[in-house]
């Protein structure tokens, strides 16, 4: 039987959750025995080359590109996992939610203390740039998400236990210390 295939991505996140994946230390050698990686920053495969079993999503959706990538993941993965606070509830990027986008952009590009050189009051508007959304959305408000692993970042032991349980079909018993929101 071929190995289960995993894809991962970081949307509106800080890559901390991916750092936490690497934090499984030498168990990464066991992981490679257990699974194969497809599209992921870990192996630098940029586009899906085959259907995957598990998609791990870091970060919520703050722009149109995030939504596009998340929908691609839903199409190409049987199971999607929201990894970390940003994927689950928007996280720190969602601190702008409740403040109108116009107000946020004006503060960032016109009003902030470090933008004194922007005397022409230019707002980034290149058509190549993804459109910013009205607010940052948790992933499960865009597509169906199957599992959630909270934490900022989620503990490496939690990620390891969850992925192994999913791949082997064993029951997942999570110790109290591993589920944290910070």
């Amino acid at each position: 039987m071929s190995k289960p295939i995993i894809a991962t991505t970081s949307l509106a996140g800080c890559f901390g959750c991916h750092m936490s994946i690497l934090d499984i230390d030498d168990r990464i050698l066991q992981l490679i025995e257990l699974v194969e990686f497809n599209k992921s920053p870990i192996d630098d495969i940029k586009t899906f080359t085959k259907q995957c079993d598990i998609g791990i999503i870091e970060g919520g959706c703050c722009n149109s590109e995030n939504v596009h990538v998340l929908k691609e993941f839903r199409k190409n993965c049987k199971i999607l996992i929201s990894l970390g606070e940003c994927a689950i509830m928007g996280g720190l990027p969602a601190m702008r939610n409740g403040i109108p986008v116009k107000e946020c952009l004006e503060e960032a590009y016109w009003g902030g203390p470090t933008v004194g050189l922007n005397t022409e009051k230019i707002m980034p508007n290149d058509p190549e740039l993804p459109m910013i959304l009205d607010k940052v959305y948790p992933c499960h408000e865009i597509v169906k998400i199957d599992y959630y692993l909270p934490g900022c970042a989620p503990r490496a032991d939690l990620i390891w236990a969850a992925v192994v349980a999913l791949v082997t079909g064993d029951e997942l018993n999570i110790p109290y210390e591993l589920v944290k929101f910070d």
């Binding site: 689950i88 928007g90 408000e141 109290y176």
Partner: protein
């Protein structure tokens, strides 16, 4: 000596004092019922409802209902645990609870209940309402994004003449916690610390002392909320 009453919680025989609230009587018998707004020996508010139990077949707030002779109380049933988890989830989506950026994280009762009930994601959509912060008093920040309207500070934090330093303003959607700036100007460090400690979330924070406890050493990092009550009676 006050009259005693006998009652049961999930079949366990318990003894309490007449007129004692269920939540306090339960604690004396080693049974933990979660609370966010209740404080022992303070007039109850019954506002958070996370202590909901089934007493003689009816759902009641354990912090406002006194024990009665022969009362049969259900506490740890699947139905009640789901109701409590739903309340915790509702509080999480209603406010702006960014745990990773909160100074109270690790010492927060609301978060600890999220851990206890293994809340992986709230079942309700997030509201993301805009709320303002009041940082104008010398000793504390009032972080309204996290306020769950338990009224603990209003009932508990008073000056030497018995005047409340905190108060509610507005009703319904416009309800918000406020601080009396004149009274707050005379707050001592001890009072500010007490206000921060009784706040079940991170809505009241002392200035200049944030993030002074290492992750792993905070109140609920390793210990489940309520375990001290349960362990005292084993």
């Amino acid at each position: 000596m006050s009259e005693t009453v006998k009652f049961t919680i999930d079949g366990k025989e318990c003894i309490g004092k007449k007129g004692q609230y269920i939540v306090d009587a339960a604690a004396e018998n080693g049974v933990y019922i979660p609370v966010l707004c209740h404080m022992k020996d303070v007039i109850p508010a019954g506002s958070c409802r996370v202590c909901t139990v089934k007493a003689n077949g009816r759902n009641m707030a354990a912090c406002t209902s006194p024990v009665e002779e022969g009362m049969s109380i259900e506490n740890n049933t699947a139905e009640l645990l789901d109701i409590r988890k739903a309340i915790v989830e509702m509080l999480f989506v209603e406010g702006n609870h960014f745990c990773p950026a909160c100074e109270k994280s690790g010492n927060c009762d609301l978060q600890a209940l999220g851990y206890k009930y293994q809340m992986m994601v709230p079942r309700f959509p997030y509201v993301f309402e805009r709320r303002n912060i009041d940082a104008t008093t010398p000793k504390i920040f009032l972080e309204r994004n996290r306020c769950i309207f338990c009224k603990r500070c209003v009932r508990m934090i008073k000056d030497a003449e018995g005047r409340s330093i905190f108060a509610f303003k507005g009703r319904g959607e416009t309800l918000e916690i406020n601080i009396d700036h004149k009274l707050a100007a005379n707050m001592t460090d001890e009072m500010a610390q007490l206000a921060m400690d009784i706040c079940p979330v991170g809505a009241i924070l002392r200035k200049e002392v944030g993030f002074n406890e290492a992750i792993g050493t905070r109140k609920y990092d390793k210990k489940v909320i309520g375990s001290d009550i349960e362990n005292n009676h084993q």
